[in-house]
């Protein structure tokens, strides 16, 4: 039987080699591919890191290339909470509330040293790591991290999603 390769779209209908025109995958993989390439960050800036986060959205670094085009002002419509900056004790309740308002699946990035571990501020005022109040998926070191480093953090989350690893809150739930 003659094998007609699907060289051009209109000839694909006449192709006889089914593996050439049909891709098989799992539902999870497709959903993960879609989720990872459309992570919408939540516009949440606390301190200096927020400036680099805004720089990440701007043309030179452009997180929009990675699908994070839309920075939403409401947590209801965002997927990715980037905690950019130092977390004071007064801010913990608002962060937790905003995190609760985000819809699942959701991911959290601790951007910078201060939100990862408290940074240089080992004192009475700063929470020593935002992972004490929200489950964190990726930690990006730096004070502040360069926008490229934050993009790498977003890419790490993308890899995590594509690999099928559940978000941090699910891992915590399964451990609890």
């Amino acid at each position: 039987m003659e094998v007609i390769p699907p060289g051009r779209p209109h000839s694909a209908l006449r192709a006889t080699d089914i593996e050439r025109v049909v891709m098989t995958t799992t539902v999870d993989k497709v959903l993960n591919w879609a989720a990872s390439n459309s992570l919408w960050p939540f516009g949440f800036g606390l301190a200096c890191c927020a400036m680099e986060m805004i720089a990440m959205v701007t043309p030179r670094y452009d997180i929009g290339r990675f699908g994070s085009e839309i920075v939403r002002a409401t947590p209801r419509q965002s997927d990715l909470l980037i905690v950019s900056g130092r977390v004071s004790h007064r801010m913990t309740a608002p962060i937790r509330e905003l995190y609760e308002q985000m819809l699942e699946p959701k991911w959290v990035m601790a951007m910078g040293a201060c939100s990862s571990t408290g940074g240089m501020f080992a004192n009475y005022a700063i929470l020593q790591g935002v992972d004490k109040i929200v489950p964190v998926d990726v930690y990006v070191p730096g004070c502040p991290p360069r926008p490229e480093a934050v993009i790498e953090g977003v890419m790490t989350i993308q890899k995590k999603i594509k690999a099928g690893i559940p978000p941090a809150y699910e891992q915590q739930r399964s451990q609890a």
Binding site: G43, F44, G45, L46, A47, C48, A50, M51, E52, I54, A55, T58, P59, R60, A73, G85, R86, S88, R90, M91, P94, L98, M120, F121, N123, Y124, A125, I126, C143, P144, R146
Partner: protein
């Protein structure tokens, strides 16, 4: 300048100091009003500021601020470290003008030590202070226009901001918080390529500022939203402690660089830009003009940059150059003592101030003769200016409140420290 001779109708009367509490607009006892919480996370509050607003329909009838959402205890942390290591904490306060914070702390220490900074060090500091001013005003313009709904300017301004940070990185090593200002001068000499890069930046920035002025200055929606609202009178500015562009937009002719010059400003020519009306439009335009002025000052400084050392020669205070550590025993000992223990500063209290992008940025430093600062207090322009928000927003529409708050340009890191 067209802004000066522009006649405009004021939509609200000029702000007056409130009483009994200057920073609180007390709402009337009216059950038909609505309590709205703006913040601490809001796209329009320049960081984590919470405005507890009482609205009567769309009009603001009650307002007070809740601060402290990014209180970091920087001042107390600085007391735990030696003078050299404490410089790292200072720029994290006002993160849009990080060099100004480092500089003012270093100036206070130098005052207590009686240390003189060499001319080249002063001129490099002036270049970086002006770069900081451009950096801050670009962020202000970008985020300010996002507040008003015109998102395009954000991307243009941040493109230029990246150019400024390229220059900072060239000399200081990192984009933000380079700890470039040191007690005695600056940490490293500017590299050879800095002059060429800075001049190309100057050329580009001049063209861009003209673009921005066209983009917002003549835009009808921008003009309608900002003209005639949030008027600050010189007397209000004096009573409420407003300095910097906020005061100069209202006719207060006061600029530390011109009237109380420090460092290289004793030799550089700075002509303060003063506008008349003092509304939101003036505060936007004055910062645009200040970007132009800063570009001119940088060019002046590059043209006249003296040669010589960039940091003081006192090895009991300043780290020796690294190449000397291989050959000189004394340098090695100095380096060791300075890094492990630090130099001692004689007891006393000193106040140093610079013209920051927001206004007067000061540092009140108390030393006790040991190797660590006893008390560092930053005079924060943002804390002082946030007191005025309630008075400025009396009876305005909610949309105007956003514009007024944006025009003041507060920074919550600077405010809460």
């Amino acid at each position: 300048m067209s802004a000066l001779s522009d006649r405009r109708t004021l939509r609200y009367p000029p702000a007056e100091v409130l009483s009994p509490i200057p920073s609180v607009l007390i709402p009337p006892d009216n059950p038909d009003t609505m309590l709205i919480n703006l913040g601490p996370n809001h796209p329009s509050t320049h960081g984590v500021l919470r405005l507890v607003t009482t609205l009567d329909g769309e009009k603001v009838v009650g307002l007070h601020n809740e601060l402290g959402y990014v209180h970091t205890g920087i001042e107390k942390n600085m007391e735990q470290k030696s003078y050299w290591k404490a410089i790292t904490y200072a720029p994290r306060a006002d993160y849009n003008a990080f060099f100004a914070n480092e500089l003012v702390y270093c100036m206070a220490v130098e005052k207590l030590l009686g240390l003189e900074v060499p001319r080249r060090g002063e001129w490099i500091r002036a270049i970086f202070t002006e770069l900081q001013r451009i950096h801050n005003h670009l962020i202000f313009l970008g985020t300010g226009s996002v507040d008003l709904g015109g998102i395009a300017l954000l991307f243009y301004c941040f493109r230029e901001r990246d150019r400024v940070l390229d220059l900072v990185e060239l000399a200081g090593g990192v984009r933000m918080h380079p700890r470039y200002a040191q007690v005695g001068g600056v940490a490293e000499d500017i590299p050879v390529a800095f002059d060429r890069e800075a001049r190309s930046f100057i050329k580009e920035m001049r063209a861009r500022v003209d673009e921005y002025e066209d983009l917002i200055g003549q835009q009808p929606i921008f003009r309608d939203r900002t003209r005639g609202i949030g008027v600050i009178t010189p007397e209000f500015a004096r009573q409420m402690g407003l300095t910097g562009p906020n005061a100069r937009a209202s006719g207060v002719n006061w600029d530390l660089r011109a009237h109380e010059p420090y460092g290289a400003y004793r030799e550089l020519q700075v002509q303060p830009i003063v506008f008349e009306v003092g509304d939101v439009y003036d505060r936007y335009l004055i910062r645009l003009h200040e970007i132009r002025q800063s570009v001119d000052i940088i060019e002046q400084a590059l043209d006249g940059l003296p040669s010589g050392p960039w940091i003081a020669d006192d090895r009991k205070v300043v780290l020796p150059p690294r190449h000397e550590l291989h050959t000189s025993m004394e340098s090695l000992i100095h380096h060791f003592k300075l890094v492990t223990e630090g130099y001692r500063v004689p007891a006393g209290e000193a106040y140093a101030c610079v013209e920051g992008p927001r206004g007067e940025l000061g540092c009140n430093l108390v030393a006790d003769g040991s190797a660590k600062p006893w008390r560092v207090h930053f005079r924060s322009a943002s804390l002082v200016m946030l007191q005025s928000v309630a008075a400025l927003c009396k009876g305005v529409l909610l949309a105007d409140l956003i514009a007024i708050l944006a025009s003041l340009d507060p920074n919550m890191g600077d405010c809460d420290r």
